[in-house]
Subunit: 413 residues, 2 copies
Amino acid sequence: MDIEKANLEATTRMMEARPVLVGLGRALDVVPGMRENLLLHAGPPVTWERMAGPMRGAAIGALIFEGKAKDEKEAEALIKAGQIEFEPCHHHRAVGPMAGLLSPSMLVYIVENKTHGNKAYSSLNEGRGKVLRMGAYSQEVISRLGWMNEVMGPVLHEALQMSEGLDLRTIIAKSLQMGDDGHNRMDAGSLIYTNALAPFIVKVAKDSATAAEIIRFLGENALSILNPVMAACKTMADAGHGVEGSTIVTTMARNGTDFGIRVSGLGDRWFTGPAGRVKALYFPGFTEEDANPDIGDSTITETTGIGGFAMAGAPAIVTFISGTPKDAINTTLQMYEITYTEHKYFSIPQLDFRGTPTGIDIRKVVEKGMPPRVNTGVAHKDPGIGQVGAGVVSPPMSIFEDALVAYAEQYGF
Amino acid sequence: MDIEKANLEATTRMMEARPVLVGLGRALDVVPGMRENLLLHAGPPVTWERMAGPMRGAAIGALIFEGKAKDEKEAEALIKAGQIEFEPCHHHRAVGPMAGLLSPSMLVYIVENKTHGNKAYSSLNEGRGKVLRMGAYSQEVISRLGWMNEVMGPVLHEALQMSEGLDLRTIIAKSLQMGDDGHNRMDAGSLIYTNALAPFIVKVAKDSATAAEIIRFLGENALSILNPVMAACKTMADAGHGVEGSTIVTTMARNGTDFGIRVSGLGDRWFTGPAGRVKALYFPGFTEEDANPDIGDSTITETTGIGGFAMAGAPAIVTFISGTPKDAINTTLQMYEITYTEHKYFSIPQLDFRGTPTGIDIRKVVEKGMPPRVNTGVAHKDPGIGQVGAGVVSPPMSIFEDALVAYAEQYGF
């Protein structure tokens, strides 16, 4: 077994993936294996009983949005009666930030990797504050989802069709030169995204008021490109998955209870441990007491060499997630120690345009005793509330150790 | 004479200026002192005889645009017959990048300093390549100017009216957190600008095709916000001008032949010396042989604490102007040695959010023997060609020495 060769293959496939945002579709129609009574969620598999508050809140909201329940009580009754199934987004080529809830009627972005042909899917971003992905499910939240699904989504689909697709690898690369990290700071990427689509939105929207409303919604949301970028990263990670003998991590995801990883050479098996507490800056009125542990599929960004791994290029992010610009640089520098290579297309001006650290190697993580660093939003631990802060966190070391043991067992050394 | 107090006053006025882009108007109608046969240009005063190639080319183009000449020959004949007057933009509260040509029929941006009430004006940005400001005057250039003046400009004016104006100080501050320097790298600022106006453009444009064309033109031009920002800086600089006893530079401008400065406490007198050769990266097919010396009013950005002075925050700019990210940081660090203060609103994440070096003090420039560093585009030395590169340059030391001598004479020490 030539591990180096396998890891070269896995990381090359990751980097050579060229994800293009091609359109939107209804989850039930386009997401593989989606079914009427299925809700997809972030992270590794989890039961309702063990499910974190914000994910429960999002599930309740999704059932209200679907018209299957009119309130929290009905939604919970339905779930407890066994009428609703839960499966990870990651089992369906999908990803979702925070709770990551995806229900059958929701429109999803469709991202296609033009190099290897695989696709990935993600929900639409709702903006900050009281939003489903943070566990809120008030009428305001449900109404916004309705507008996104019925008004904005179809226009975005038509605009994307007319545009012949947006090359997300190029947009990510550009945004990393503009102070973005590609995960929690996406101010530039979201502007690039809105600007690229605006001329098409104008042409396909039914009237100018609708066009203006959509452009404003996308343009004022500094995370509007987060979900397409996550789906892009998912296509990259999936392209690198399944390489015989590779020790490269191809999934990192949290459900708010557990942090789970999967490894290129170890099939679809999850290695899980407790989701960590986030070292965060809290919004006014909230403290660590209010925080749910680490949650969301957005760590797919770190898995493919951006997010926390590219923080050196995003010094202004520290005003949002705490720390100093020097910490941001140190984070990136440390991640070179646990990764296989430097990204061919994503670079950091501050580090003389060095490629971002790419391809987490479970051997190096264990050897250095250094888990990956990720940055993340923080949801309130109770359903129905929303975001309370943002910060930095790491997965438990045990899951990398478990993966390495499994690797030794599978490959016999 | 309390020089410190005077400089505090001048720089405080500069920083507390709050420039808001309020609309557009025809130069003849809104620019103070504009007249039918007058062309405004960048830098200190210059005669046709001493005028640099690109400025001559722009003057020819402006006369064709105005319908006063049908070609180069007619334009030159008109000028040589004494039918056309030339005066600096700076004598009319205006600024223009590179040749800085402003003719009576052109629409100009109107920027109002809401703190002190003064206004400033600038032309609209044409994008890169073959453009009037670089001395090109082909039919393509004249047609684009016509579209900008007749189609885009009126829509931008109406959009700005509907928006209640754009706070440019806030946009500049934000763009400096996104890898812009506020002069030659304005990728983020131009996206913010386009995004902010797009919803209004959609509403006021006569049809969706026009709206789409305008949004695309602004969005694809990484310098679309340069001219409004220059006018914003002009309102800041003018706010700091005329403070009795102040040694702070309030104008730096080049006409392609001379580099000129003016000083807050020394009235409207220019101190001039030869415009420098730019240390540049050249576009394919061009060399230093092709380059015109330093030209343009865009050094108003460095005058007010951004541009070359904020390069530490814009490491990716070195791919355009040459050098390394470390050079960019060193440039900003050096500029602290010749400036009076650190900007209250403009900061650099890479330097732990330190305010940008602001308010060039002629005493410090002379004492340290260190002229200001500016970054700039480079025009071909001949009329009719256009941009050939971009790089860094400094004004001649002699003009700061001359100003200091004049200061000593005026204030008697």
